[in-house]
């Protein structure tokens, strides 16, 4: 469902060159539960942003459900992304002046979902992540783990086909983390494609395949052979 073909992303700072993604080829099949691991700074977030069509590679191609992403204009790209992909950002990226509820409604507003329906759906996903009593709180009125759960709820709001979650449990206690992983597993059973960046081996244990990155490249992968 996502094909990454020899993709590169380089940052230039004066004379300094950072090869954040340095030739990555990766094929994610529809319905896969993929885990991405690797040291801090190895390029995981950069790769996730390229796969989620939030950023363009300097070379190579990205295909989303067979469509070549670089051939889409910005408006079509935004529309496809909004419809197919739910992205959980490592730094949450919540809008500070909106409540938790309004933050979760945002992707649905963009998708043209009628007010009553998106209101109901936003409450539903916030309740799913345990934030029923925090819907009217703004991000500065939430704990770190609560902000992370709002970011997760927002990614689920539009019922996307693909979830890209960048370290979704880093700020959560083990119980809250397990609840989130259960949500992901249930969605995976429903047929969604789940891609999770994590540093946590217990999170990684939920995936079907684990790829390891180092210095902008994929250096190894393991495929789970059990049921």
């Amino acid at each position: 469902i996502i094909n990454v073909e020899n993709v590169r992303k380089t940052y230039r700072m004066g004379d300094n060159i950072v090869k954040a993604v340095d030739g990555v080829t990766l094929n994610v099949f529809g319905g896969e539960y993929l885990i991405i691991m690797g040291p801090s700074g190895s390029g995981k977030t950069t790769l996730m942003h390229l796969m989620g069509c939030l950023d363009k590679p300097d070379s190579g191609e990205i295909y989303l459900a067979g469509k070549c992403v670089s051939k889409l204009n910005d408006r079509d790209l935004a529309r496809v992304r909004n419809k197919m992909i739910g992205f959980v950002f490592q730094q949450f990226n919540l809008l500070p002046r909106l409540t938790a509820l309004e933050n979760v409604e945002l992707p649905m507003i963009y998708a043209g979902v009628p007010r009553a329906i998106r209101h109901k759906r936003a409450k539903e996903v916030l309740t799913m992540v345990g934030l029923r009593d925090r819907m009217e709180h703004k991000p500065t009125q939430l704990s770190g783990g609560q902000m992370q759960r709002v970011a997760i709820a927002r990614a689920l709001a539009n019922q996307p086909q693909i979830i890209l979650a960048d370290e979704p449990t880093g700020n959560l206690d083990s119980k809250s983390g397990e609840e989130i992983l259960k949500i992901f597993s249930d969605l995976h059973s429903d047929g969604l494609t789940i891609i999770v960046v994590t540093h946590d081996l217990e999170v990684a244990a939920n995936g079907q395949r684990v790829i390891h990155m180092r210095d902008g490249r994929i250096v190894s992968q393991e495929v789970r052979t059990s049921v």
Copy 2:
């Protein structure tokens, strides 16, 4: 070295009341390595901000090295805090327009450290956390784990007596996390007081005492009896 006496912090939002810290009494002895754990939203960050004198309780008292914090004026409080406490924020709180190096120099500028000395010290602590090649990067040019390490370096810059670290390894791979914990252990051997909020049991294993919070209160504690 820090005494928390029946401290309360309540947030009011319209008719809603959130008892973030609901009567906490805690005595941290000088040189202790204390771990604070608890579910998301249980009040850990709020308690840390009160202990670090970044916030004032609604009731109860806080004593820092024997001084009653509420009796200090803002300027004296800021000076004592800057000199004694290094705080690692859960959301890093880096200044986006400053480089990693400049962010780390900030507490030293405030303390009146001469330019050449603070420049050298900033480079030293950034190298300690593995960011020697990232000193000129601004926060938006850093990975999540790199930002977290800049926040840690900044907390160490002024050689404080107390380190308050709010989930300092949440964005780090296990190797980078271990390097940070080694720094904390070394500082602890030098006599520093270390207080770490964490969700990670492996991090908790480094402490001498673990307190558990729930709904704004301390509900249990364990003291390590081995060497």
